[in-house]
Symmetry: C2
């Protein structure tokens, strides 16, 4: 892992990874179509001699293949991460996640690049029957187009590992928080509270239980198992890891953390129901024994992660301007 190609390099997690890998002395090619990515996240990286940014789209296989030339490892992080509105435009998840992942794999094959890390999601377990949910949970039913598209990506990566001797790392993320966070419930709540500090609208009944992980902990976990080359020892040259903390919080807990940090006591208005929207999962909590046994543990709790996120949002209100 010396020359690393990152899709979604201008995104929240992607740009954080760019900085971390450059700090580790790696060469990095950042690839992003800037549809939701932020060029400002790469301002630091752009000063670095070992960084190169190429603007391009995963649906353009030829450009993608050219851009990847000379790399040895791919972090495929680019995705339509807009889970909630998936049903309004099913083509988006299909093209930007499923087709994009196929193209990334084909570009790798064309270039002889064999190592891939993939940001999948805890949502692939659907409404899990076992909680905390282990990686070998019973074959689930997909409840969102987003998760279905990530499941497609996982399956293709497996098949490329088995069939073309790729080395694959599939990471099923809980929601990630931290600096450069640009969507999700903390983002939405902070926005609302900036606009009207006395009133907060909450999707669902607030009892949804969710798990969150701090972005730097997420990056550390990925690098830990990849540097150890764990997939090379796996039966089918692919390893799947849940990434999360061993806690979860209710949306109501999160609201409490946020309001306490901001010193606000808004009136809460709940839309009601145990799901915030169709396909919302009322309880996400992943078993993280496997990644812990690989020698990783998170440095921050969920509350600390939410705190860091808020601090960053307060100092970077410009991100709200970029998102309508």
């Amino acid at each position: 892992m010396q020359n690393i190609f990152i899709t979604g390099a201008a995104g929240f997690i992607g740009s954080s990874l760019v900085d971390r890998l450059l700090a580790d002395g790696k060469g990095v090619v950042g690839w992003d179509n800037l549809s939701t990515g932020q060029e400002r996240f790469l301002e630091g990286a752009r000063q670095h001699p070992k960084f190169r940014f190429i603007r391009g789209d995963n649906l353009d296989l030829d450009s993608l293949s050219s851009a990847m030339k000379g790399c040895d490892t791919v972090f495929h992080l680019a995705a339509n991460a807009d889970v909630r509105f998936g049903l309004n435009h099913p083509k988006k998840d299909f093209e930007q996640n499923t087709v994009a992942t196929f193209n990334v794999l084909e570009a790798m094959r064309a270039n002889g690049v064999k190592t891939i890390a993939f940001s999948s999601t805890g949502s692939v377990y659907g409404e899990a029957s076992v909680i905390p949910t282990p990686e070998d949970h019973p074959f689930p039913v997909q409840t969102s187009l987003y998760a279905a598209s990530k499941l497609s990506g996982e399956g293709m990566i497996h098949a490329y590992c088995e069939g073309y001797s790729f080395e694959g790392y599939v990471f099923r993320f809980v929601s990630i928080l931290g600096e450069r966070y640009t969507h999700g419930h903390v983002f939405d709540f902070y926005k609302q509270l900036t606009e009207h500090p006395g009133h907060l609208k909450v999707l669902g009944d607030g009892t949804q239980r969710k798990s969150y992980l701090y972005v730097q902990d997420c990056l550390a976990a990925m690098l830990q198992v990849m540097n150890a080359g764990l997939a090379l020892k796996a039966r089918h040259r692919v390893e799947v890891f849940n990434l999360g903390t061993d806690h979860y919080v209710q949306v109501n807990d999160s609201i409490r953390y946020i309001c306490s940090a901001l010193g606000l006591k808004p009136r809460l208005e709940y839309t009601g129901g145990e799901r915030g929207w169709i396909g919302d999962n009322p309880f996400i909590f992943l078993e993280t024994k496997k990644i812990r046994e690989a020698g990783w543990k998170p440095a921050l709790t969920i509350e600390q992660g939410i705190g860091r996120t808020l601090q960053w949002l307060q100092a970077n209100r410009w991100v709200y301007e970029t998102r309508k």
Copy 2:
């Protein structure tokens, strides 16, 4: 289920389903690009006033949507079923299976068609850790592009059932045998024995254990659960069923049945190894308790199914002419 749209209608299973549904008094629109389908399989159906054949490709969403107009149920059977050579052309499984299934779902949505049956595969369990393999087997690793593409299809169907209130039936088939069978090991072995009756080349070491199901038994199983509307009672409006017999045979058993039926004693040449090819699964045997509890059981044993297949191939040698 009165007006039924069948993708892959000129194929082995599709054309058998066309005939069966017409016999049941249903209206049927057959859709096929004739890339591997056989117009001769539809000769009977074409005489029927309630049958209409439309030649078209699943990658052409506009034509697909137009063709589906007025139907209430879709059997999505069209697929690249060429499992063995998937690694030679990964785009084929991706386009003809993954993209095609997305298009079928979008065409359904455009037409307000809500009921779908999907031919998935026992291969989605990869190299299963539990045998016989139940529908809720631990989240598997995909070992072929074919299975990965079927897994993609399953996931999208789930998400459409949950998100758009579709009614979904996912059937994970073992290998299907019977009249109009045009590829697979019986097809290959009979071809070889016709060309050189004294010599049979076998991929792998002959100990691979596989399960087979007779095509009419397969159709009866699908219609049984769909007529009962079982998915409407399911938590996410989708039901997954394994379809197979409660037996398996070794490739060597199958060779014995075939040679005995043909009165031949060829010299056997094994290519060796427990897998016939990369991604071949040395042991496929599905648990069929769920579909049996729905009131179905197969009429034919695997040996009887192989017998029917051979009889049909002997009477229809023309199919070999159509396949190079």
